[in-house]
Symmetry: C3
Subunit: 324 residues, 3 copies
């Protein structure tokens, strides 16, 4: 599950009763305020006491399947071989089946709602898929079913304890799975790139769904400035090759540590500065394009009205606002 | 400690030096911003390096002994055999003694303030109780005592390392322990049930202190609507047997995964929609009761005043407001 | 790494392939919402699957090197022998080199920005220091370097797997490290102590950079009251020797569990009550000093203006406000 890592270590050092490595990497939207995560781990440990957990995060926004899928796919290539348990609850009244997806070095367990799909694809695709419908490997619930605790955690625990995956339920066609939907940027004939914010991390960096190769294809070179249309605002940002090239308080574009273009601001939250969030549209206009602000494109500023200043002066002013 | 689980796994796979399983399930009101939880774990690992931790939660509201007790009792039947460490600090000036409570498959450690009581009862009661008053098994503090770090974590670590429980301090009478106080619903002669919100989970589901058997005793059948008096509001909710039976945006009552009645709303926070929180009184009025809104019971609505509409029409209208 | 602990336990019970104990104590400003912490752990486990983690905290405020250094130094003496990984990101454009600092029973890994310095000092100083500049022991990044994931976690994993520390990079002079800057209190000739709030914990206790020995040197005895100037407010607080001596709702000073003077309030947040935060100046005026409020020192109250009341009555009134 970690194709790019140097020296993939042997992971059967615990003398495990199964060939699956004894790790469960766990992602959910359960939060950490309630006991959900702990109870799921307890259920797994009861079945496979040798298990070790890696918490990816449990703070996926409630019901945010796309956000969870993006988080998982950012992490997936680094996770240890073994089991991945990913639960983003699809909400009342929309019960998806739970599935176990066999990949080369492990098994991914989660709901069939697109959450796992991008990660499975990055790992080379599913070899087999099983619906977790064998009640023998589930916990009886005192009331309504809590799928993480009663269906998915027991499946992970039984797998880790050596139960073959085909025991967990009926086989399903990998092509029948709900696909993951990731937004692709649109590239205009005039060189513009219509992207959006994929992720705002804790530090306020805004990862875009834009590959740096798109910049290279437009002959944008390190040091060049581009225009960013973010919501109704227009900003200038410089494309730099390392964070260290950023000047204090300068809005920059960098290739982030995941290989995508991110908007960053030195020691401050770019997201807060730009009033941007996940899903905010971001248009990148290369520097050699004729005036990005044609007639009819007067930007609506987020700040207070500027009184008597003529409207046509605003774009120019905005362009100089790269640093706050 | 897990009477309902299938195939209780052997838990001595680490060749532990004691018969106690090598797990510490840990609940506290320490939060995760400070280093409290990590330091307590470090203290335990220093004494028993083979220990594995299961974090139940550390986000019990500060000083909220009842909330902590309810969280622990929801989790307890799922926790692995071994040690449970539960700390909800009783606050300055009210130092409770710390205790170790021996139960069938393990030991619960915590303050004697009612935090452990419901869980001990669910596990079949205490066989022996010891006050953690033997200073030999405590850490010297550089200043005031931090009971989790200096008294309770060392007790857990020493127990896990094979120290007999009776070494940790003087034996106490189980009947001398501070009891846990859980709110019971009141059942009126006319069929009403006066309950309250026990727990609001991350998704906004509101668990009530009401058992579904009370509904069955009132001949409320799946699909029936009941009236809910929540604070000053009146709402209609349908009693459904599974979440999947809920219609989009419909307020429903379900037996939750803990076996109690919960108020839920499809993919939205019922708590937010109802302005409900832990402790909010909730009255359930069965459908066959004569008009729940008798004279003198005009509901005080939370919304803006409704102008000239006659007051007696409001209840009817409220009843239709099941979906927002 | 734990000089004060009783019975330092043997930590090589896993038959580790190295003499380093198999623990990584991990502190960062990564938060838990993103996947950063999980990915760093995954990278370490891939290299050293026997590792156990102790999370100190990951909620150091972003870029807050001083706050992180203080948290680490509060925890350090309790951490198990082995590796400490501490990452507080110095922000865009200010890349510090990453270092590994060898101490008596372990290795501390982190940026060279003062984060590790106080802890290294408390552990007796560095024996050797290495810059993590050997790319052979780093992960290739798909884009910009994520120092925790690509440099520091691999260093920790390789160390735990038996790679000698000198392989990780070039040796550095311990005296060339960026020092940690901790604020010292100033002691006036008249007995006053000018300190500040070092830390506000989850419960609102305010730890000061004041040692209780300074109180003893001023003949302040348990039970005595002192005057606190906190920001523009003046409060009276009693110096008590245990939390249990505090009266309900009384503002007290206690020696906290780290051996420093803290301001506390029974079951309430002293920080909220006093409107105090990390860095808030706090002046302690001993009880035998002549009137702390000389001419020209009229306190500026935070509350609304008090109209016609004569200014000279305010101090007296403030002094009585110890309990809210």
């Amino acid at each position: 599950m970690a194709p790019r890592r140097p020296e993939p270590a042997a992971t059967d050092t615990f003398g495990a009763v199964t060939e699956l490595a004894p790790f469960v990497s766990f992602l959910s939207d359960y939060g950490t305020r309630d006991e959900f995560v702990g109870v799921c781990k307890a259920v797994m440990l009861e079945l496979a006491p040798h298990l070790q957990f890696v918490d990816i995060t449990h703070e996926v926004a409630p019901f945010d399947v796309r956000g969870g899928a993006l988080t998982l796919v950012r992490a997936i290539q680094y996770l240890p071989s073994g089991i991945v348990l990913a639960v983003v609850d699809p909400g009342v009244g929309t019960e998806r089946r739970a599935i176990a997806v066999e990949v080369e070095n492990g098994v991914l367990i989660g709901p069939d709602n697109g959450l796992l799909a991008p990660s499975v694809a990055m790992l080379g695709g599913a070899s087999r898929v099983f619906a977790l419908d064998n009640a023998e490997y589930q916990l009886p619930a005192p009331g309504g079913t809590f799928a993480g605790r009663d269906v998915m955690a027991p499946a992970a625990g039984h797998l880790a304890a050596g139960v073959p995956i085909e025991e967990l339920g009926s086989e399903a066609d990998p092509n029948s799975l709900v696909p993951g939907l990731l937004p692709l940027p649109q590239e205009g004939d005039d060189g513009r790139i219509d992207g959006e914010v994929l992720w705002v991390d804790r530090f306020g960096n805004c990862q875009l769904n834009i590959d740096p190769d798109m910049f290279i294809a437009r002959a944008i070179a390190p040091g060049d400035g581009v225009e960013l249309h973010i919501g109704a605002e227009i900003r200038r940002a410089r494309w730099v090759d390392t964070y260290a090239s950023a000047r204090p308080a300068e809005l920059v574009l960098v290739t982030d540590s995941y290989g995508l273009v991110s908007i960053a601001l030195d020691r401050r939250s770019a997201a807060e500065y730009l009033n941007a969030a996940i899903g905010t549209p971001v248009v990148v206009v290369p520097p050699d394009l004729p005036g990005a602000l044609a007639a009819g494109e007067v930007p609506v500023r987020l700040g207070p009205p500027e009184g008597s200043r003529p409207a046509e002066s605003r774009p120019e002013r905005n362009r100089e606002e790269g640093s706050p």
